[in-house]
């Protein structure tokens, strides 16, 4: 063999060795990050072990670590995510339908699109500042809040303007925060509906609206639902914007001054009052417990985190279930 060939052979061996090392470095990086996830879950689970029980779910907070509970935050988070869903789903899907089905490619459309993807990258704390100014303070239009009472015949509720640190302010802030993500997810779902479906519907004489309403939206619904649930589960874990709104970390009652389940059953009108009452949320309670100087509260915080992760798991599980269940039915 020539000298050239020998050098080439030797270098080839080295090139393959470097390749192998590189592959293993990349592989180790991947599995290391999965290992971090395992360590995170394990260490928090170990801290929470023994602190998580039925009592923890049904009690509200206490100064004694072993009497603390997450009821107020759990109900508060459910209110927040429910109201956020009611507001962000129609708005988000509406915007996505407009952008995907109706908008003509113009400079305005391009600007709106760029604007949405930029809003998705704005730090959540800036949304907190926005919500604080617009919903909690209402630009400081009134120095002292004014109380309005609204009677529905069988029950009545009252609210203040400016809204103050109430559930509705929190939900509106979270709506603005999650709207860009909902829009982008819904747009992707609409884009995955094949154009042939639209053409077939239009060819049969359906109007544009009928096509969207009866063909495109039903076909895109599973995708939209999945995206919406995922973005809502992102919203439920948000702490910073709610903390900036000035929501309390710990309260002894769920929104509407409801102290227990019996309370809600005996005074159902309190439920009507809930959106206009103070609130706390699971992540806020966790943050409060982390800041608590007493050492025992670190276990309470861990238990709270486990509750939060279980809520997230349930929501993501629902999303995956919808995706699996409905994807099979549709065949193009």
């Amino acid at each position: 063999m020539s000298l050239h060939g020998k050098i080439y052979e030797r270098r080839l061996v080295w090139r393959h060795r470097i390749g192998l090392i590189f592959e293993w470095v990349c592989r180790i990086a991947t599995f290391l990050s999965l290992g971090i996830l395992a360590v995170l879950l394990f260490s928090i689970g170990r801290q929470a072990f023994g602190w998580l029980g039925w009592g923890f779910l049904t009690r509200s907070n206490s100064y004694e670590a072993d009497q603390a509970g997450i009821m107020a935050g759990l109900i508060g988070s459910l209110w927040l995510v429910g109201l956020t869903a009611i507001m962000s789903v129609p708005l988000g899907v509406g915007a996505a339908v407009y952008l995907e089905e109706y908008a003509k490619p113009s400079r305005l459309t391009k600007f709106i699109q760029l604007n949405i993807s930029n809003l998705a990258g704005v730090p959540s704390i800036v949304y907190g500042i926005l919500g604080f100014t617009v919903f909690v303070r209402m630009f400081g239009l009134r120095d002292r809040p004014e109380r309005f009472t609204c009677s529905l015949g069988f029950a009545q509720f009252s609210f203040e303007l400016p809204l103050g640190r109430v559930v509705l302010s929190g939900a509106c802030t979270l709506t603005l925060l999650s709207l860009p993500v909902v829009i982008i997810a819904a747009q992707e779902a609409l884009r995955s509906v094949p154009p042939s479906l639209r053409h077939a519907s239009l060819a049969l004489g359906a109007t544009k609206w009928q096509t969207v309403r009866y063909q495109v939206l039903p076909a895109a619904l599973p995708g939209i639902m999945t995206g919406v649930i995922l973005s809502l589960s992102r919203a439920i874990g948000e702490t910073a914007p709610l903390a900036v709104l000035g929501a309390a970390a710990q309260l002894s009652f769920a929104p509407g001054r409801i102290h227990s389940i019996g309370d809600a059953v005996q005074h159902p009108s309190k439920i009507l009052q809930a959106p206009f009452d103070q609130f706390t949320a699971i992540p806020l309670q966790i943050y409060g417990w982390i800041n608590e100087p007493k050492a025992a509260f670190e276990h309470v915080a861990a238990a709270g985190i486990i509750v939060l992760l279980i809520v997230l798991l349930l929501m993501n599980g629902t999303a995956i279930f919808i995706r699996q269940r409905f994807q099979k039915k549709i065949r193009w």
């Binding site: 991947t30 990050s33 999965l34 996830l37 995170l40 509406g94 952008l99 704005v122 730090p123 800036v126």
Partner: protein, 295 residues
Amino acid sequence: MLFGCALLSVLTTVAIIFVLVTESLVGIPPHTAFFQDVSLSEFFFSTEWAPQFSGSQQHYGVMPLVCGTLLITGISGLIGLPAGLMIAIYLSEYASPRARSVCKPALEILAGVPTVVYGYFGLRFVTPYLIMPLFKSMGFSVYGFNALCGGIVVGIMIIPMVASLSEDVMRAVPNSLRESGYALGATKFDVSARIVVPSALSGILASFLLALSRSIGETMAVAICAGNSPNLTLNPFSSVQTMTAFIVNVMQGEVVAGSTLEKSLYAVALVLFVITLVMNLISQMVLSRYREVYQ
């Protein structure tokens, strides 16, 4: 009506800018804005941040906050960017379909963990079991709240983002490029490191920018791990305060409406908003141009 829904997003942007600007730059007549109370040069060049004090001890130099933010962003970048890139290379070039089907959902879970959970993890695990034993034995004095822990935790948080965005652009590199590499006698390493990565480079850089802008805006993990003392330092073992941590920390207590302290929140938020906006805009442009090139 549908157009109105789409317009709401524009309205949100306008509202954010309006609120931040009227409180910090140009006040609406009866009220004064932050920069009408505090001069621009003091804000950007003074090296002390002490807004809670009164009288001559009150200082509004944003430098310590910016420095704290950059320190944590820098550390998180050192950890998150290479790790995310390597994961992306592994997933796009090396991983078998089965390994992918395990890794992708796990990364999604990692991305979905709320930031307050990462904060707890940093405070109760990373600092006491990782940083303390390692660096105390080397003779450094490590504080309970330290920038290193914040940086590590934020670095872990941005890994899934870098990995999934970079993987997307790498998979968009056409196979013909890889095949021509092999035809010229390149090894797998040559193909992935010298063909795929360079041709996906602008997209990868865009994903880096997006991730860094996310770690600049990250709040809870940093507020929990890195503490709340605005020090002008680059020492990763000391406690620092970031822009975001300052905002959360002040808003936790009662703030007098119309006070300079309250307006300083808006000024800091404006700085934060402008920095992240510029970074997002650049990376959006790069990413969208990238999509056009390979389609």
